[in-house]
Amino acid sequence: MAFGVRLQVWGDRACFTRPEMKVERVSYDALTPSAARGILEAIHWKPAIRWAVDRIHVLKPIRFESIRRNEVGGKLSPASVAKAVKAGTTNGLANFVDEDRQQRAATVLRDVAYVIEAHFELTAKAGPDDSVGKHLDIFNRRARKGQCFQMPCMGVREFPANFKLLEDGEAVPEPDASLRAERDLGWMLHDIDFARSMTPRFFRARMAGGVIEVPPWQSEEVKA
């Protein structure tokens, strides 16, 4: 892994929401590649580079907990807005926060720790002074010192993610014994395809010995 980085992240709670269960949020069993990319981008990102997650190590047993919170209800329907625009007034478009309450439960992960293995490629926006080495150095320097653009999070911002760089030669911590057996995590979100009007793309996540191998973005295994 000449150009790769390895980042260990951990936190008390995490919620990598399954797209099919977004209202009463239910988290995936493990960190998704897209959330891992978000964590890396919170530490260092420029339009000149694109992060690609290669491997996710799950270090702690998978445990869930349920939390119910008061949230603001839905959005307004475009039709009623169009009507209001025609009438030239927002009357009847009122949105009272405490009358528009939804109590939603979230099934979130408890006490998580992962190691993200990733590399990045240069994009078309890379200028002449953007080199792989330069961005790699910036990332490593920041991760080593605990610097970040914003505090990375475990899926949602109320669950901050602590992070530390795994130096070259430093071994990935042993995963918990409960993760030894091979597990099929089913279809998991790989990432959102922003080039094609935000189409989500999925892959079949399998975890063996706590490791999820993430297929490359453009490979056959990743399906929209």
Binding site: L76, K86, F96, V97, D98, G146, R157, N162
Partner: protein
């Protein structure tokens, strides 16, 4: 308004005496508990609500300090204010549904929202509710607060010397009393962690005055949030770590680990019942160079 130039982390300690800091809708409004450790929980959104309420009290809608997520607020009136203030005509076909095609105008709308609303500048907001003014990520991130020790919620039965309906009165043949329940925590000291990103502050224009107001809100928000359910809540300590640079000079977890909250009597048999039963220490030696510690109260 120049944005803040430093990254901050903070540890915020507050306590509750004979009250319910944050009810759990899943458990009939019992205080929230972490089922694995029996520690009490207070959600991030609960604390943010109190901060918003304090700011709207303290600033009384002064210019630039309006609160977007008001209790009883009309969100879309606020959005329309933005459109009207900037004199942008709604799109003929889509009305106000989509952001203006012209990106500069869209940015203007978002900037206007940030300038006028304290909570949009601070916590961000998703403003895609029909009348669209874009999405903002705010600089301040707050995590769940949890109590230092396991808490034991008590159920207190109370009586009311009146009934609601005529039927109830007839059922009781004129006795006219009802029973109710309150859930309280005798004492709990809670610890919350928060993060302030200078880089996101640049985007929303979150300034040093805003930050000072935010610290003030943390200090005083319980003073204006008294109610029958809350009991006595008080902000006890706010320990702020200021990094020299915008990106930060040390990992957040290292700083948080330097703050320890221990029982004052290590061999004490009795459960904690006041803040005096705890000792808060900041291990100055563990603070890396380039980080200064401020204790606010």
């Amino acid at each position: 308004m120049t944005a803040i130039a430093h990254r901050y982390e903070f540890v915020y300690l507050f306590d509750v005496t004979n009250g319910n800091p944050n009810g759990d809708p899943d458990a009939g409004n019992l205080p929230r508990l972490d089922p694995e450790t029996n520690r009490g929980l207070v959600t991030d959104v609960c604390l943010k609500r109190k901060i918003r309420n304090f700011v709207s009290l303290a600033k009384e809608d002064a210019e630039g300090y309006a609160i977007y997520m008001q209790e009883k607020a009309v969100l879309n009136n606020q959005h329309e204010k933005a459109w009207k203030a900037l004199d942008i005509a709604p799109d003929a076909k889509d009305g106000y549904k989509k952001l203006p095609k012209d990106e500069a105008k869209a940015r203007e709308l978002t900037a206007w929202m940030c300038r006028n609303f304290f909570d949009v500048r601070t916590f961000g907001a998703v403003m895609t509710t029909g009348v669209n003014t874009g999405q903002v990520r705010g600089p301040i991130q707050i995590a769940f607060a949890s109590s230092i020790d396991p808490v034991v919620p008590l159920e207190v039965s109370i009586t009311r010397m009146a009934v609601t309906t005529q039927k109830e009165a007839e059922d009781q043949s004129g006795d006219n009393r009802t029973m109710g329940r309150k859930h309280i925590i005798p004492y709990g000291l809670y610890r919350a962690h928060g993060f302030v990103s200078a880089k996101l502050a640049e985007r929303t224009g979150f300034s040093d005055e805003d930050l000072a107001l935010f610290w003030q809100a943390l200090g005083n928000m319980f003073e204006h949030d008294r109610s029958a359910a809350r009991g006595e809540m008080a902000a006890r300590k706010l320990i702020v770590f200021q990094h020299d640079s915008a990106m930060g000079n040390a990992p957040a977890h290292v700083l948080f680990d330097a703050v320890s909250v221990q029982p004052a009597q290590p061999d004490g048999e009795a459960p904690a019942r006041s803040f005096a039963d705890y000792r808060v220490t900041v291990d100055k030696a563990a603070i890396p160079a380039g980080v200064t510690v401020h204790e606010h109260f």
